[in-house]
């Protein structure tokens, strides 16, 4: 569950809702607002600090790091996980690497085509 909280906070930082160097809610305040336990938020803050997204000053609360640099790293990691999952399913279905690649290309073409039609509309 703390992973979901981390994700939410990263998104808030990524879209600039929580600006760099800005103070963020205390663990307890955020727990009450999100209706999750204090310990879950505490865990999320600890991990975010380790990743350099936020900085916690003892007794003062936490602020967003001045250079969180997170969106590329965040999405890169997610992409890697999804790709592994794709390969795993491919092996399960007995697909050759070539077949898997062409399936990926086909999926890409479909998505891009549908996005283009939407933009035209």
């Amino acid at each position: 569950m703390y992973l979901q909280i981390m994700e939410q906070i990263k998104q808030r930082v990524a879209v600039g809702e929580w600006g760099r160097g800005e103070e963020i809610p205390s663990i307890r305040q955020l727990a009450v607002a999100l209706r999750v336990s204090v310990i879950t938020v505490k865990r999320a803050y600890l991990e975010l600090e380790r990743e350099g997204v936020i900085v916690t000053q003892h007794g003062k609360g936490s602020i967003v790091a001045s250079d969180p640099d997170l969106s590329p790293r965040l999405y890169d990691q997610e992409l890697a996980e999804h790709l592994e999952q794709v390969v795993r399913l491919g092996i399960l279905l007995g697909l050759t690497p070539e077949e898997l690649t062409s399936r990926l290309r086909a999926a890409m073409d479909r998505l891009i085509a549908s996005r283009l039609t939407k933009e035209r509309l």
């Binding site: 569950m1 703390y2 307890r28 305040q29 727990a31 009450v32 209706r35 999750v36 336990s37 204090v38 310990i39 879950t40 865990r43």
Partner: protein, 298 residues
């Protein structure tokens, strides 16, 4: 020393057909403990001992610094207790109950009580006998919350509530925790509610505490490993295996003391680790109850 709101040390209580054995429990001030057990596991007996309603045969119980049951009058001024079987006066209104509680407890907070009436969508002039189950639970909770107790003890607060009422109740419980001096102990067999709002989790089964820990640590150390074994291979021996299911070649191991080193240990023994799945609190609860019972019967 940690600041504990509730402390049980070696507490036992024997009944002809049921016994609580050697209960040890620590609840730090400012946290929420979810107390999970099947029906008849001993949740309510433990809570009644905590409240001084049942006297333990052995062991020491301290609640908010008061020894129980000897100092229960002083302790109860600061404990708000809501249980399923607590009855309100049927022919009296909610407003009458509010006035009644206010006359007893000096710390009653009328404006908080009124805001709770609104948030819980209750009408003060309504008589208790006309209330639905959900409204009764919310009314009882309102009467306990508005006293601003330092410790809230809730026996199955969300059982039988519809999703909207459950959401309201859980939300109010969280709001209580905004003040870090306040502590909540609530029992439930709804693991979803417990997983959402608890800091501490305690499992009880057949009158014994089978596990108790910080929630995040709890969730972290339970994992399900799905392995593929080469033919003729035997299952690797790993620490903390609670259950083995699946087939010979495709075993599924449930462990309560997972570490990432386990995965490489499996590889070293020739097994392929297909997946390491985290588990929901419900799955963990069922696995630990079944694991504990198997060990007892062996």
């Amino acid at each position: 020393m940690k600041d504990l709101s509730v402390h049980f040390a070696g507490v036992s209580k024997k009944y002809p057909h049921f016994a609580l054995e050697n209960i040890n429990l620590e609840l730090p001030t400012g946290s929420i403990m979810g107390f999970i057990g099947a029906n008849g596991a001993g949740k309510s007996t433990t809570i009644r001992i905590l409240m001084g309603l049942v006297h333990q045969d052995q062991g020491a119980v301290h609640v908010l610094g008061h020894a129980m049951p000897a100092e229960q009058v002083a302790a109860k001024l600061d404990i708000g207790f809501v249980s399923e079987d607590m009855r309100l006066y049927k022919s009296a209104t909610i407003a009458w109950h509010m006035e009644f509680i206010r006359s007893i407890y000096p710390r009653w907070d009328q404006s908080y009580a009124e805001s709770l009436l609104q948030r819980f969508d209750l009408k003060p002039q309504q008589k208790v006998k006309g209330l639905s189950h959900g409204q009764r639970v919310k009314a009882a909770l309102l009467l306990a919350l508005a006293r601003r107790p330092r410790l809230l003890v809730l026996d199955e607060p969300t059982t039988g509530l519809d999703p909207v009422a459950r959401h309201e109740v859980l939300g109010e419980l969280m709001a209580v925790l905004a003040d870090e001096e306040r502590t909540i102990l609530f029992s439930s067999h709804n693991t979803q509610d417990v997983e959402q709002i608890s800091d501490q989790i305690t499992f009880i089964d057949r009158g014994r505490i089978i596990d108790s820990d910080d929630k995040e640590i709890f969730l972290d150390r339970w994992r399900r490993l799905r392995l593929v074994l080469p033919p003729e291979a035997t299952l690797p021996r790993l620490p903390g295996i609670v259950q083995v299911s699946g087939s010979d070649r495709l075993p599924v191991l449930t462990t309560n003391s997972f570490e990432s080193a386990m995965v490489s240990a499996c590889h070293d023994m020739g097994a392929t680790v297909q997946a390491v799945d985290s588990m929901t609190l419900e799955e963990i609860f069922v696995a630990s109850v079944q694991g504990g019972r198997e060990r007892q019967t062996v």
